[in-house]
């Protein structure tokens, strides 16, 4: 895997969503990783140190939810760039994620264009950080 690729970690308890997003962004030139559980996501983050992490807030099939996953990732690296995927009913959790330092949040159901927009914006932040 070339070192200059932007590393993207996708965290969602729906395997199909992880599979599709990783496939799409691999084709776009990213180095992609996926996790369907918050704990595995934190371990993967520790190991791979992705530049951008996209986390679903609501993960009923995961041992920890997206907010806790964000919190643990931020404990490893307070500068980690995290994007949160939320539902219309997650208002309180969105506020908590903001407080924990998430860069952006996007609300489901989202289109690929909307996802592209926030990921591209995060890539700009990665490039600025050097």
């Amino acid at each position: 895997m070339p070192e200059n690729k932007v590393k993207l970690l996708i965290v969602d308890d729906e395997g199909g969503i992880v599979e599709w997003i990783t496939r799409i962004y691999s084709e776009k030139g990213f180095a992609t990783f996926g996790a369907t559980d918050g704990i595995s996501a934190v371990e993967l983050f520790q190991k791979e140190r992705p530049h951008i992490t996209v986390i679903d807030i609501h993960m009923p099939r995961s041992s920890i939810d997206g907010v806790e996953t964000l919190k643990r990732i931020k404990e490893i690296d307070s500068g980690a760039i995290c994007l949160m995927v939320t539902r219309m009913t997650d208002k309180d959790k969105v506020e908590e994620c903001r407080r924990l330092g998430a860069l952006h949040y996007i609300t489901k159901p989202l289109t690929l264009d909307e996802l592209d927009k926030v990921i591209n914006s995060a890539v700009s932040v990665v490039k600025k950080k050097g």
Binding site: R87, T89, K108
Partner: protein, 90 residues
């Protein structure tokens, strides 16, 4: 969105005027099921026939996945309808 009903604007106005709301439990279910299924359908379409950079025809397997998600939405709406069924109404 489907073709609008002839009186759709009026219906939205009635919802606003009457301050009609959807119970939070129903919103919770709607945003979970419809949100995830539409997200998945959008991803498949965005990666294939609607891709901005590299549009390509959809495979039978990919079309099948979209169909499965549509059926999941239908099953969810049927279940919701059954759970909210009253003697009068829908």
């Amino acid at each position: 969105m489907a073709n609008p009903l002839p009186n759709e604007d009026d219906l939205y106005q009635q919802i606003e005027n009457g301050k009609l709301t959807v119970h939070p439990i129903i919103w919770e279910l709607l945003s979970h099921h419809i949100g995830n299924d539409l997200y998945m359908i959008n991803l498949i379409l965005g990666a294939t026939i609607l891709s901005r950079n590299n549009p390509r025809p959809m495979t039978t397997e990919e079309a099948q996945k979209i169909y499965e998600r549509i059926m999941l939405i239908k099953d969810f709406l049927d279940k919701l309808r059954k759970a909210t069924k009253k003697d009068v109404g829908f």
